[in-house]
Amino acid sequence: MVWGGNSWPHVTTSNHQTHPSNPSIKPSNQPPYQHKIMKFLPLLLLVSMFAFFSACEKDEPQADKNFTLTFKTTYDGVPMEKYKNFAYGDRNIQINKFNTFLSDLILVKQDGSEHRLSDIEWVDFTPDLAPDDKAVEVQFKYTVPAGDYKALKIGYGVRPDLNAKKPTDFAPEHPLYRENEYWSGWQSYIFTKVQGLYDLDGAGDPESTLTYHCGSDAVYQTSSMTAHIPVTATSGALTVEFDVKKLFAANGGLFDLNDPLNRNTSHNASNVELGLKVMNNFANATSVK
């Protein structure tokens, strides 16, 4: 199931609209067939050349939204699912809400030049209206110049200049329009929400609440994820995966969730320590393919 970042069904958007698939992307137009064609008669060669040039005509000018960026989430490598027990040390844990803002999504070319995909996106892996408990994949489509790219830059959270604004500053289709992702106590967007339950009593089923709401400029993080990312005029794709378990990494192990101070981020605006730990873990929790 693929979901977009924008839940308002009628508003058309630019980069914030999702498209599960793009029918204009046809890999069969690509060269792998050419070696077979060469074995046949000249007539067929002419036909194939005609087809080749027809395809070229279709490819020029560059197609809109030729690049797909997909976000997925896992827990310890297994697809994430709400209300499902996952192992956390010798106890169980559930992750029932996970969403995050991502800023400055930028592709880096082999020559070091950059192509900005987006200033800001909101990725909600656990939307209310999902048909089941499986974490959804979230896709964004962008127009990207053809070329070989070597990295994706990511900002985890809302970059400071955007975080200085409020939901009322944005149009309904904008990711930062969301009132429920803003907290006046911080004068900040809530960059990331991770909520769930932990089996504190050891009885098997998680029962103790986990709430990590991370925000404020102090916890904003950036990283650059290296990958070979070829983009043609008609296609290109990258999948970014967040492993939620790695958000709990601490001192070579995991947060001690038996300690209540590690189970809920503080609402004290001057105490963002636990939120900072979560946000600091984001880069290591990220993989790209």
Partner: protein
């Protein structure tokens, strides 16, 4: 003569489109000018922008038609109930009943939701989110057997034959003939009217937000600080309200199990709420968050109207939920943390509950409910 023949052919052609044969000669509307006036929804400057779907742009004529339809009992099978029967302005577009009763005297299961600021609802409508848009929502109560118990074909037929509606649909949507009236256009008009049901922005809370520090008294301010979890510096506990009731419209339109019912299993909720629509048992017992603006005018409270007063609502939340597995975690974290490995929370004292109730009263917006533009036009 040629003209007469042409008109006859057109009229016959129109009749073929309508099996009921109700639209023919005399049903042509093209003599009525079709020139709409763009309608800008008035909203307070500190409110978010209002989403309007591209396929139902706001027009003065559409809003006027929608307003009339909203208050017209023609929408019910026996012409006794209109939308306004359950959504009255003085109740901030609720009926102030625990559950609403339809034309056959059958009580529904749920309380009518306030329509205040409904234009912002972008995450499903009704308590369970079964309609995606206002346009889709408006189609449902007309045929609901425990609400208006009408049928759309019959209602559309009534509208076609009505002495005034065909012209109003013409002015709003440019239909050429009364046969152009459809349930979809009816729903669009209703949705346009509902989108103008926006706060005035001059409640006491709004005055405070806009910079008047004296707009709230000390107790109301205490309530606000707890509501928004901002009271640490003055030793006030978190009431966690804002997590579900965002800062300006005071709802995020999300779905939560807010700890109302103690059930042994998620299958045991009497009203499964969102789960009834999604067929996902972990959605059982979850309902859409209503706005808290004008909440003092919309008693009783919750999806089934179980709490007669705001004090009873705060008493409920002060109990920190029932421990059901899909409860929102913040429902269990109200009050001061009491320490210990198994972290429990204090709930709220009588003063704290009272302060929050007093704050909720600062959200009252009588200018909205008295706005002449949204009253019954009949």
């Amino acid at each position: 003569m040629v003209m007469g023949l042409a008109l006859a052919v057109i009229a016959l052609a129109q009749c073929k489109k309508d099996p009921s044969g109700s639209c023919g000669i005399g049903c042509d509307l093209t003599d009525i000018p079709y020139k709409t006036t763009a309608y800008t929804i008035l909203k307070p400057a500190h409110f978010p922008q209002i989403p309007v779907p591209a396929d139902n742009r706001m027009t003065l004529e559409g809003v006027q038609l929608g307003r009339r339809l909203f208050y017209d009992p023609i929408l019910s099978a026996d012409s006794t109930m209109s939308c306004a029967s359950c959504h009255l302005p003085q109740g901030s577009f609720t009926d102030n009943k625990a559950v609403s009763t339809g034309i056959d005297g059958i009580a529904g299961r749920r309380s009518s939701m306030s329509l205040l600021n409904i234009a912002y609802a972008n995450n499903g409508l009704f308590w369970d989110g079964r309609a995606a848009t206002l346009e889709a929502q408006a189609l449902i109560p007309v045929e609901d057997p425990i609400e208006m118990h009408h049928t759309w074909p019959n209602l559309v037929e009534q509208l076609k034959q009505h002495p005034e509606y065909p012209a109003l649909f013409r002015k709003a949507f440019g239909i050429d003939n009364c046969c152009g009236i459809t349930k979809e256009l009816t729903a669009k008009a209703l949705a346009q009217f509902e989108r103008i049901l926006i706060s005035s922005g001059i409640s006491k809370y709004d005055q405070f937000v806009l910079g008047d520090p004296d707009a709230l008294d000390d107790m109301e301010l205490d309530g606000k600080l707890m509501f928004f979890d901002e009271g640490q510096d003055v030793n006030l506990p978190d009431a966690q309200c804002f997590h579900c009731h965002g800062s300006i419209t005071l709802t995020g339109n999300n779905y939560f199990n807010n700890g109302l019912d103690s059930v042994a299993s998620l299958d045991d909720f009497i009203d499964k709420g969102r789960g009834e629509v999604s067929r996902n048992r972990t959605d059982n017992g979850k309902f859409r968050t209503p706005t808290l603006r004008n909440i003092a005018l919309t008693a009783p409270y919750m999806h089934d109207g179980r709490f007669p007063t705001l004090e009873a609502v705060l008493q409920h939340y002060s109990g920190n939920g029932k421990g059901v597995s899909n409860e929102d975690p913040f429902v269990r974290q109200i009050g001061f943390p009491l320490g210990g490995s198994v972290l429990t929370y204090s709930g709220l004292t009588a003063y704290q509950r009272q302060a929050i109730v007093k704050f909720l009263h600062t959200l009252t917006d009588t200018s909205f409910v008295n706005n002449p533009d949204i009253q019954n036009p009949f």
